[in-house]
Amino acid sequence: MVKRRRVIGYIAAIAAIAGGIFAGLIGIRRITQPTQLTPTPITTPKPVETPARTPIPGARIIAKKIPRVPIDPEDPMWSYVDELSIELGPQAMAYPTHTSPAMKSLRVRAAHDGELLGFRLEWSNPKPHVDVLDINRFADQCAVLLLPPRIPQDLLAAAWQMGTPEWPATILNWRADWQEDIDKGFREVEDLYPNIAIDGYAPYGGTATIKDLAKPARISEMPPEARKWLAGLSAGNIFSEPERRSSVAKLIAKGPGTITPLKTQDALGKGVWRNGMWRVVLAKRLKASDEALGELTMAPGALFYVAFAVWEGGSGERGGRKAISDLILAGLEA
């Protein structure tokens, strides 16, 4: 008993000394730091701190049952859904690894309406990067990775790494450049370089003359036969598609480097950047439209695994160079 008291005494003494040093350091910092003339106002809304009521044991994220999943991230309906702060770490498993990602945390809300499952992701990003219109420009992104709950425990770590051939991961990927395409029309070189001039492009067919070709035509204005000169578009690459319908792509992955767009691109979503904050909704149907290709089907009351990723385009983050969360067990409210 005496011994324990002594130990407690020591701990208390060390704590007191450490506290004193800490206070002293703060004092020195206060003195040495220049006074801030204009304190930066923090407009970040306070996260809802009510702990999630867990009807499903073990689940850390509960997709709340609500009448309608709002696609607008600023819809007030989202304020009725509990928010969870999630830590993000480096992607250090697969090439190319990224040891110091720009984003450290993320706030997540999840909800479903029996038909759609939606996630609202929120992270602070002082300067948005919304285009990929030049060689050194990368866009902000976020993604939600979904896995079935019945994965054997020993395969979980592998499946977290973008799924496995047996346990493919369904991924929803929102991109700021796609959002910009939807909000303002497909972004092209003249949007970054308004004064671009050109002598002439490839024979675009029809009756176009060199004079007509002297100013760049938007892809949407090009005659259909001219589109074949855009190799990515001809190949059917979703990145090159000028008629974008959603800012969220629905992908399937069977391991690192394997993500492939699913046949039915029916994922919904929207991202809004305001006051240094990205708020993004990513939503998919509970009933998979591409189940044969491995898309995850979910049901109210059931569990699933989820992981998140955030890319800061300004830091050159893309592909595997990203910030990722742990694999989290989640459930849908019945």
Partner: protein, 386 residues
């Protein structure tokens, strides 16, 4: 970790994938002594492949004036200075590279690299025709041409994708969207699988992968594979008016075929060497280095084999080696691919296709006609019009 053998460096090196050489490797020999920097190759490529929107800045084929020109800006100096000291040592008649390749020097990456700035592409013909050092003041004749190598020099360096045996772009793509065709070794980007990460743009030390901001994915030289499949040489070869470019297929040095023009020039006569072999990619465009240039510069760009290639080439010219001259004279004299060549009758060189059919026949020396100043038959004087 996979070790692959790179014959250009005379040693094994680290590469992320095991060695998988194609059934045959498409290659080219460019004779830099004949390049006049006319950019016809550049335009041939531009009109064939990169005249669409988003490709405005792209030159899959470019010709830069060395030493001052580069496209994109400083591509060679940036990677060479990042790589550090590059030492070669001759061991048993073979040059062995003792420094690091870009794969070996990469820390935490698959290759040493960087993404160029947009401005780096803005002046594709910077330094055109600029000499290495300015000529001296009036009366200072020390810098004028007095034998070989010249004191003051420049030369043109035409560059396309090297369709490397160990491509850095392929190594860097995390999606395996870049592949090397097993039938001819042409390196291509799958336009459906590419997601525009630009890891390939970052990794290619020759900076011959380009990002297309309109399709938002990357593109590169395709070695005119539809032409090759049809038995024709690529467009930049076909349109070369200086006839500096030989297209063909290269074998490994131990399997060199003396009738194969590429093997003959590269392996047997050793008059051509690859561009920056020390980077470790085993590039497949070979250059007959310019004879008049400072040998230190040749060593930097083409390795010590490049310096030897200059001597071998000068020796072949001095001796009037008809086979070397024949192989070089035949260069892109036909739009058809010839895989074998032969000097016949001592004064003609013939190219044959794979079936042994004659494709092209060129005289080793153009016939010369001497015309006298006074034409007595017509009773008139012939004058040269300047």
């Amino acid at each position: 970790m996979p070790q692959v053998y790179n014959w250009q460096m005379g040693r094994e090196m680290w590469y992320p994938y095991p060695s998988a050489r194609p059934k045959r490797q498409a290659a080219g020999v460019f004779n830099l002594n004949k390049c006049i920097g006319c950019q016809t190759c550049t335009i041939a490529c531009k009109t064939a492949w990169t005249s669409s929107k988003g490709q405005e800045y792209m030159l899959w084929n470019n010709v830069e004036t060395k030493p001052w020109g580069s496209y994109p800006l400083g591509w060679d100096l940036k990677i060479l200075s990042a790589l550090g000291t590059q030492k070669w040592k001759k061991e048993g008649g073979t040059w062995v590279y003792k420094g690091s390749t870009i794969f070996e020097a990469a820390r935490g990456e698959r290759g040493l690299g960087y993404i160029p700035d947009p401005e780096d592409y803005a002046n594709p013909n910077i330094g055109e025709d600029m000499v290495s050092i300015p000529l001296g003041r009036d009366g200072d004749r020390s810098r004028y041409i007095r034998g070989i190598p010249h004191v003051t020099w420049f030369f043109y360096l035409p560059r396309i994708c090297n369709h490397c045996t160990f491509p850095a772009c392929l190594a860097a793509c995390p999606r395996m969207a870049i592949y090397k065709r097993s039938e001819d070794g042409v390196v291509l980007i799958d336009q459906l699988r590419c997601r525009g990460y630009r890891e390939c743009v970052r990794a290619c030390p020759y900076k011959k992968v380009f990002y297309n901001p309109e399709t938002r994915i990357s593109e590169k030289c395709v070695f005119c594979y539809p032409a090759i499949e049809g038995g024709e040489i690529p467009r930049c070869f076909r349109n070369c008016i200086g006839k500096i470019r030989t297209f063909g297929y290269i074998n490994l040095p131990e399997k060199a075929d003396p009738e194969n023009p590429i093997d003959f020039l590269v392996h047997i006569k050793k008059v051509a060497s690859p561009l920056l072999p020390q980077l470790g990619l085993e590039p497949n465009i070979y250059y007959v280095p310019p004879v008049h240039v400072d040998r230190r510069f040749i060593q930097m760009l083409f390795g010590p084999m490049g310096v030897e290639a200059v001597d071998n080439y000068l020796e072949a010219i001095r001796k009037q080696d008809v086979e070397v001259l024949g192989a070089l004279i035949l260069a892109n004299s036909s739009e058809k691919i010839y895989t074998r060549f032969k000097v016949v009758g001592g004064d003609q060189v013939v190219g044959y296709d794979e079936k042994g059919h004659e494709v092209v026949r060129v005289p080793l020396k153009e016939p010369v006609y001497v015309r006298f100043r006074y034409d007595s038959g017509r009773n008139l004087y012939l004058t040269n019009t300047p």
